[in-house]
Amino acid sequence: MHALAQVATRKEALLSRIPRIRTVRQKIVAGYVASLLGVVVVAVVIRAETGRQNQLVQESARVERALLASTEVSERLSDMETGVRGFVITGFDSYLEPYLAGVRSLPAAIGAMRANAAAPEQVAQVDNIAALADRWRADVLAREIDARRRGGSEAADLVATGVGKSYFDAIRDEVERFEATQKQQLDALAVLRQRTSARQGVELILGALIAALTSLAISLGVARSIGRRARALEQAARAVAGGDLRQRIPTRADGDELDDLARSFERMRATLDELVGDKDRLVREAESATQAKSRFLASVSHELRTPLNAILGFSDILSEQTAGKLTARHERYLSNIHGAGEHLLTIINDVLDLAKVEAGRIELRLEILDLADLARPVVASAAQDAASRGLAFESHLGSDARVRVDAVRVRQVLFNLLSNAVKFTPSGGRVELRLAVDDGMLLAEVSDTGVGFPTESRDRIFQPFERFHEGKVAAPGTGLGLALTKQLVELHRGTIAVETELGRGSTFRLRFPGAAVEAPVGERVLVVEDETRDAELVAAIAADVGLASERVTSAAEAIEAIHRERPSGVVLDLYLRESHGSDVLAAIKLDPTTKDLPVVVVSVDENSERYRLMGADFCLTKPLNRDELRRWLAGLAERSATLADSAHRR
């Protein structure tokens, strides 16, 4: 066990000496280094082979040189032989030239042969040839020369012996044997060279392939590792973006940058999860707090109303039943009691309203009506109020325009402003109400020639319970009116501003953007259809009955068009490419300002009952029944013409 432990420890020590490859860059570099090593190995191998090849070439050259030398030797010997023969025959010295030349250059040639002989046996062969040549020269050629010099037939006799010839033959045989050996060598070398060359080719290709594949494998491996983890991270991110914070992301310690990223991401997800949990908890707490507050307010207001009911009710009855029977003073007392009760009621209602607005619990119930209808009750009561205090009251209504507002709330606002104006204007003064529509907005102005208030306090007056002129004016306010008024105006996404001067009066200006309704009931039919041919068909039938048409191709465009300018009706294809027509139908029928818009639904299946329940007039299937559609469109045309007429007449 001890030995094993030792081995293990040594292995650990060794591995820890290898530099850890951590970052992506290191991995890629390592990959390149590996393939580089491969290339180097291949290069080394090729180099060795080339060396070998060179060696073979050199050896071949050597053999060639030996053969060359051997040929040279043969020629020299031949020269010598020829020279002596010529001299023997003619006796002229000039014929000895070849012999002398041969003798001179023979040793060099022999030397070359010897030098290029590859093996000791070959050297021995050369030595043999040299010795033979020498003996032949000395024993035969030299004696023949001397004999000829001496004259007579001695030389010819010597030649006739044939010793010279046998020497020459022997030498030639030796030379031929030498040459044969060399040629054999040459052949062997050639074969070797060819083989080496072929092998080199294979090694080159193989080596290149291996290097390329290694490089590719490493690159792909790294890429896959990165890609896989990046994709996993992307999926996790997508889940988080989609709201799923519950899935943990697997992480690996001590990996590369991507693993670090995954770890950080996981920490981020955990934090987000916690934060969302906190947020949810806080939202729930806030909601329950708001609900508790609402319940409290409701029960308080209820509790207050009950005795208030008695106060107001009894003072009412008393007034009725004692009419004319009381002194003026007592009647005044009764009136005071009743007035105080009403005041209390107003406060309770305002507090409740203010709380509701702040809790976001007031929803506007928008309706379309014209300015005259909107203003009528407000004008009536303001006129009465003003008259009873000796004030002049004027109302100016702008053009014959229609607006889309929560009538109850807007009247509440105007009422509040007007009653303030009346309250704070001394007798003989004047109060004015102006309503107009301009640039898509509803504009309202309430002005008075009353006491006004300091210009610097312009913003403060909209705060709850801010008061001015306490005690200077007969009727007290609740202190809540303007705060509530501002909230209600802002609920309509409008603005309220005041111009005032102490002693000169005040003017409150309200703007309700987008409240104006563009035109009286439109005369065009909206065609929601993304198949051009079908849309054109509907448009053609509409044109036939004298109705203009507008075509849109998506649910979003349809809703925008309806709100931009109200059509006289809608032909709605349910099967739009990117949305479903039923969304449009639902949007139309759920919006109180458009729910009476006639809608005809076009679908491809027989589900008409469902859409009729949703509010469609009826349901058409494709191919469209032209007569039915035409009848409906004609009805639309007629209706919109009638409405346009009456609008004009007004």
Partner: protein, 120 residues
């Protein structure tokens, strides 16, 4: 008219009596939901005015039970609740009118006139 008033608060009873007696109506009072319902079912009334908050059976339930029993007499609900939806709930329970306190004599008389007109 013979009017049944279902109201438990003495002050409110007094108030209603004050508002209605002079018009020559005969008023009968019940002080809780159950006795009020039974009285209504025993018949003979031209109008029932019912407070929504009652001990025992509450006003809206009285309304539902009376309608379920087939009573077609005009029903007026009176309540201190003035929150959104309360009025609709009253109407859904079968009442013809839903008045919020404080109710002035004028409002009460107008409501009575309205429901009588509808039912005659």
């Amino acid at each position: 008219m013979r009017i049944l008033l279902i109201e438990d608060n003495a002050l409110n009873v007094d108030l209603f009596l004050g508002m209605l007696e002079d018009s020559g109506h005969e008023i009968v009072t019940a002080n809780d939901g159950r006795s009020g319902r039974d009285a209504a079912l025993s018949g003979g009334y031209d109008l029932v005015i019912c407070d929504v908050r009652l001990p025992g059976l509450d006003g809206l339930s009285v309304g539902r039970e009376l309608r379920a029993a087939g009573l077609t007499v005009p029903l007026i609900a009176v309540s201190a609740h003035a929150m959104a939806g309360d009025a609709q709930r009253g109407l859904d329970a079968g009442f013809d009118e839903y008045l919020t306190k404080p109710v002035s004599p004028r409002d009460l008389r107008a409501a009575i006139a309205r429901v009588s007109a509808v039912h005659s």
